[in-house]
């Protein structure tokens, strides 16, 4: 099994003006998904990211606030997932509950640097 990163962008929940009941239903979908992944022994963990960030860049590095992504582009958090292959990981990502409200998942394999023979 290999480790993968699911990087979540969006959705802009603030634009949806969900009622309390809808917010809860939306949240419950995530827990159902996590439960499914856990049952298959695929979910390793996950965490949200703070909205505030800094960019440090340039040949004479400068620290600036940002990036100020729009809601649907905002990187909100990540999962670490176990899967046999990139293909399987992508299949697992199909369970992400927020596609219909403009959310997206980027799936990347975490590279293990092999010991040279």
């Amino acid at each position: 099994m290999k480790d993968f990163l699911f990087i979540f962008r969006g959705p802009a929940y603030e634009d949806l003006s969900l009622t309390p009941e809808e917010s809860q239903a939306s949240m419950q979908k995530w827990y159902d998904w996590i439960g499914e992944l856990s049952a298959k022994d695929r979910y390793v963990g996950g965490e949200p990211l703070h909205k505030a960030g800094k960019m440090v860049q340039g040949s004479k590095p400068v620290i600036t606030d940002g990036p100020f992504a729009e809601g649907k582009e905002l990187l909100g958090g990540y999962f670490i997932i176990k899967a046999e292959s990139l293909e399987e990981a992508a299949q697992l990502a199909l369970g992400y509950p927020d596609f219909k409200i403009n959310g997206s998942v980027e799936v990347r394999e975490i590279m293990k640097i092999p010991m040279p023979a």
Partner: protein, 422 residues
Amino acid sequence: MSTGTEQPQQLVDHLFRHEAGKMIAVLTRVFGITNLELVEDTVQETFLKALQVWRYGQLPDNPSAWLMRVARNRTIDLIRRQQKLANLSDELSKQLQSSTENAVDQFFLDTEIADSQLRMIFACCHPSLNPEDQVALTLKTVSGFGVQEIARALLSTESAIQKRLYRAREFIRSETILFEIPVGHELSVRLEVVYTVLYLLFNEGYNSLKADELIRHDLCAEAMRLCKLLTEHRLGAEPSTFALLSLMCFQASRFGSRIGEDNTIILLQKQDRNKWDRELIRLGYYYLNRSSTGDNLSVYHIESAIAAEHCLAPDFGSTNWKALLQLYDCLLERKPTPVVRLNRSIIVAQLHGVHAAIDLILDIPGIKALLEQHYIYPAVLGDLYGRAGNCNEGRRLLHMAWSLTSSLAEKKLLQEKLEALS
């Protein structure tokens, strides 16, 4: 980081809705009832934060406390911003801030939360608001329902509900009604209005056959939750409050057995009494017991005793009709409405025959108009005529009832009765 070895996380049913009611009540203490919009926005932001943070797998140990804390911090933040606009020295700002935090924290204490919720119930049930606005406002601000959910529950449209809420809020703003628990005589007057609103809410869920079962169930459960909330506060724990709660428990115990497969109505005499919810019946008796203090016998006491009488009978045949008639006589004295007369006549039919019952119904003041306006009157009267052997009159009335209701389940039941008469 949360790990995959945990059990799948599950939020308590309606947690957000219930927390919304609490937060709205507390924040109204802070910002004032004229600022309901700011209050609701702050609550909305709190849920947004939860949604953005909890979904990756970490549910806080105490979600409810977490939400309250976020709302509290956001509140302090908003106040701080307003104080900044006031051009004060650093020294005074600091002092003001710490006293603000202390004052706000007081509002977030459990006992104060309960108090605020009661104040909110009383504000929504202000006697100058009309009943439909009271119900909509209660569902929105006390129960945390969304506009669309209220529309579905009350079989109305979103724009109609928006209008009601707007009207109610405008009234609250322009009349600057107090966000307080009334005292003395005023309290008992207001409690009566609260009972009416809660019972209306309950019946909206219990009787409407047009809304889907889930939302109807929600409404009944919500009315019971609010009534229970009242019983838990020293100023709301009146005998009548317990009586109303016990009535709701008895009624709710039959919730599932009244509707059969494919949405057909199952009448009391045909209901499978094993399906009645024993736990709710037990609670009904418990609260009825607790209601029997003081010397005020409310209509809820009597209606609950009537419901209890039905629950006591192991089958329809062994119903104690005599006791029921006495209770209905008692009810009629306090609530001489056509519906009570109609229900009483059904009991009379069991004891003294259908002819006596028909006479009673024909004697209801304004019966001519009622027969033409509300399906229940021709439905009951038509059924009685059928049982009395007057099939023509029976059919005529059942036809009338059929065209007066838009509920498919009711139409189906009437259709069956019509067929039995031909």
